[in-house]
């Protein structure tokens, strides 16, 4: 007869529950609930500008068989990917310098300055690009001095990427800085002592050690870019439209919120898949170490 005892069941821990409940309630009320409603709404029908509860696949069929939906989908995916790559690459040197090359005081001030842009409305920041990127704007005026231009930058995909970066670059620099600053300096020093060149140390030691943070920063960049309406509309000229613009277009015509919900659900599924894949990539090696 086995003498092994079943593990004792832990009793209710009020202290732990007090800390857990707010986030659970918050997520249930403001994420899970609306998400379930949105999925349900994608099966509703609109009659005379009023939504009626139903369980029909018409909206899904309508949206997923439209060429423009898939055009918008792949465009949004491509723009968000480009934005993520460009932003991550441009942010890295700044984050590296803040993490390794400056004093803690300078780093604190720099991080503070990186947060300041978030004090102003993103829409206002995007509109300010009109003055800079217009054909009669600041950039073209400077280029004209050296005999170049004018170049069309507004209402292009370039404009959209600039807008995305306005939103994401400061955040990515901050996240990358935190990731790099937390690396054990002794490991970097050891690599140098063992003859590793500075470039090789970055590639073989620093980046792998900061991988989780770097991937999370890139993921945030992708999520924000993928779901952004403002930049592709105001700096990209809605030409062609991205998925968030398609949502607005769909709701404007005939108040087709259920069809807009289809687009939103597709966006959510895409983002959740990419987020899981990215996090799996970020944590994979660390877990096996």
């Amino acid at each position: 007869m086995s003498s092994t005892k079943a593990p004792a069941r832990k009793g209710f821990n009020g202290y732990a529950a007090t800390w857990r409940f707010p986030i659970i309630i918050w997520q249930a009320l403001f994420f899970l609930g609306p998400l379930i409603f949105m999925v349900a709404m994608s099966f509703f029908l609109v009659k005379n500008y009023r939504m009626e509860e139903a369980f029909e696949f018409k909206n899904w069929q309508k949206m997923l068989t439209r060429g423009y939906f898939w055009d918008s989908y792949f465009l949004t995916l491509a723009l968000a990917t480009v934005s993520t790559i460009v932003t991550s690459v441009l942010a890295f040197p700044a984050a590296f310098a803040l993490a390794f090359k400056v004093s803690p005081t300078v780093r604190r001030w720099a991080l503070f300055l990186l947060i300041i842009p978030f004090f102003t409305s993103y829409l206002v920041r995007v509109f300010s690009w009109y003055v800079i990127l217009a054909e009669s704007g600041v950039v073209n005026a400077l280029l004209a001095h050296i005999g170049l231009g004018p170049y069309t930058m507004l209402n292009t995909k370039f404009g959209t990427i600039v807008g995305y970066m306005t939103l994401t670059l400061p955040l990515v620099v901050v996240l990358q800085t935190f990731a790099l600053a937390n690396i054990d300096r002794n490991l970097v020093q050891a690599a140098h002592n063992l003859g590793c060149t500075p470039w090789r140390a970055v590639y073989r030691v620093i980046m792998p050690l900061a991988k989780t943070g770097l991937v999370v920063a890139a993921l945030f960049c992708f999520i924000l870019s993928f779901g952004d309406f403002v930049s592709p509309y105001y700096l990209g000229g809605s030409k062609p439209p991205t998925l968030p613009i398609l949502i607005i277009d769909t709701t404007k015509s005939g108040q087709q919120w259920p069809r807009a919900a289809v687009v939103a659900v597709v966006m959510m599924v895409t983002l959740i898949s990419i987020a899981f894949a990215a996090l799996a990539l970020a944590y994979r090696k660390r877990a096996s170490r």
Binding site: Y49, P240, D249
Partner: protein
């Protein structure tokens, strides 16, 4: 020795108590006076409930407008459909949606005798389509505006702008903008196709031809814009011609000194028409009627014509006369003077203006579907 100023008294305890008591006793009267202000819930396009239009009326009549702004007739219908009856006292809608408001029972019958139908600048305004049903009035036309070719005078000549063909001008590649709403844009393309008075009533072959022509414009297009984007892109010269708008946007820019203008081309133009209705179940119908009467008066018509958000033309003779009297510059700029070549009323008389409507043989959804495809092309 300095003399003490005996005229300055420090407030004693009794005085403070007196003042406090008076304030407390007077408070109900203050709040009652405040409560006497009648709040009128207005559903309208942006600008109609702004101080430049309503502040004077509010002050004189002890009312306060609470505007809820919408963008597009669909949006307006949805807002009403999703609200309890009586939520909106005053509804400003595009004329083509009045019929739907009435069919859905969202608006009250009005008394034609309350409004200046004998003073209209054009006969069409007295019996505007959809505003009457079985001889009963349901909506009062307030003003209108014309949509045609809007252009930068430095890039397009006045002669070129006399045809929608100018949008295909090679020099304008990437410089033609669209106001992002399918109805006026496709309406203009329909006019360019030569559909004239039947621009909204297209059979399958005409609808296919319209799509083909519109798609051929796509390489010229530099962007699709909302009001703010349209305004900015014309102002900073990013867009040199704009489809789907008219003086309601270029007029504001023109007043600001921008080299832009709008004309009605030879193929014809489209009129947007804005009308007031009284919301079904409104408990303030009498106050709303009084306000509509004010807006139809000469002073109200001037307020509407001068509206800061976007101008519209007067529809009453007395309104036009008052505009010429008090703001001759604006009357001249907007051609609201008898004998001027682009006088909006003369344009209607010449048969060059077509009232904006909804598609007759396709659904709005069909047009919007094509519009989405076009944007992605």
């Amino acid at each position: 020795m300095q003399k003490k100023d005996t005229n300055v008294e420090s407030p004693g305890r009794r005085k403070i108590l007196k003042a406090g008591g008076a304030t407390i006793l007077g408070a109900p009267f203050i709040s009652r006076a405040w409560a006497n202000v009648t709040e009128i819930n207005m559903l309208a396009w942006y600008g109609h409930g702004e101080p430049d239009v309503v502040a004077e009326y509010e002050a004189a009549n002890n009312v306060k407008f609470k505007p809820k702004y919408y963008a597009g007739g669909d949006n307006m219908l949805a807002l009403i459909a999703q609200s309890p009856p009586g939520t909106y006292d005053l509804i400003l809608s595009d004329a083509e949606f009045v019929q739907q408001l009435n069919a859905a029972g969202y608006i009250e019958e009005m008394n034609a005798a309350d409004y200046p139908f004998d003073d209209m600048l054009h006969d069409d305004f007295t019996k505007f389509p959809g505003h009457w049903k079985d001889g009963k009035l349901f909506s009062m036309m307030l003003r209108g505006g014309h949509l045609g070719v809007s252009y930068n005078k430095n890039a397009v000549t006045a002669e070129e702008a006399m045809s929608y063909k100018c949008f295909w001008k090679p020099e304008l590649e990437g410089k033609v903008g669209h106001f992002d709403w399918h109805l006026p844009n496709l309406g203009m393309m329909s006019l360019y196709e030569g559909n004239g008075t039947s621009l909204w009533d297209l059979d399958d072959s005409k609808w296919a031809a319209l799509q083909k022509t519109t798609t051929s414009l796509r390489p010229q297009v530099g962007g699709f814009f909302d009001y703010g984007g349209t305004f900015n892109s014309l102002k900073n010269g990013e867009m040199l011609a704009m489809c789907g708008i008219g003086d309601w946007i270029t007029g504001v820019l023109e007043k600001d000194g921008a080299p832009v203008a709008s004309v009605i081309p030879k193929e014809g133009g489209i009129q947007f028409t804005e009308s007031y209705s009284i919301g079904k179940g409104s408990e303030k119908a009498a106050e709303v009627k009084k306000f509509i009467q004010y807006m139809m008066s000469p002073d109200g018509q001037v307020k509407s014509a001068q509206m800061a958000a976007y101008p519209g033309f007067c529809i009453t003779k007395a309104g036009r006369a008052r505009l010429i009297e008090v703001d001759g510059k604006e009357a001249e700029r907007s051609h609201q003077m008898d004998g001027m070549p682009n006088d909006p009323i003369a344009l209607i008389n010449e048969g060059r203006i077509h009232y904006r409507d909804i598609p007759q043989q396709q659904s709005l959804e069909d047009w919007n579907d094509y519009w989405s495809e076009y944007k992605n092309a």
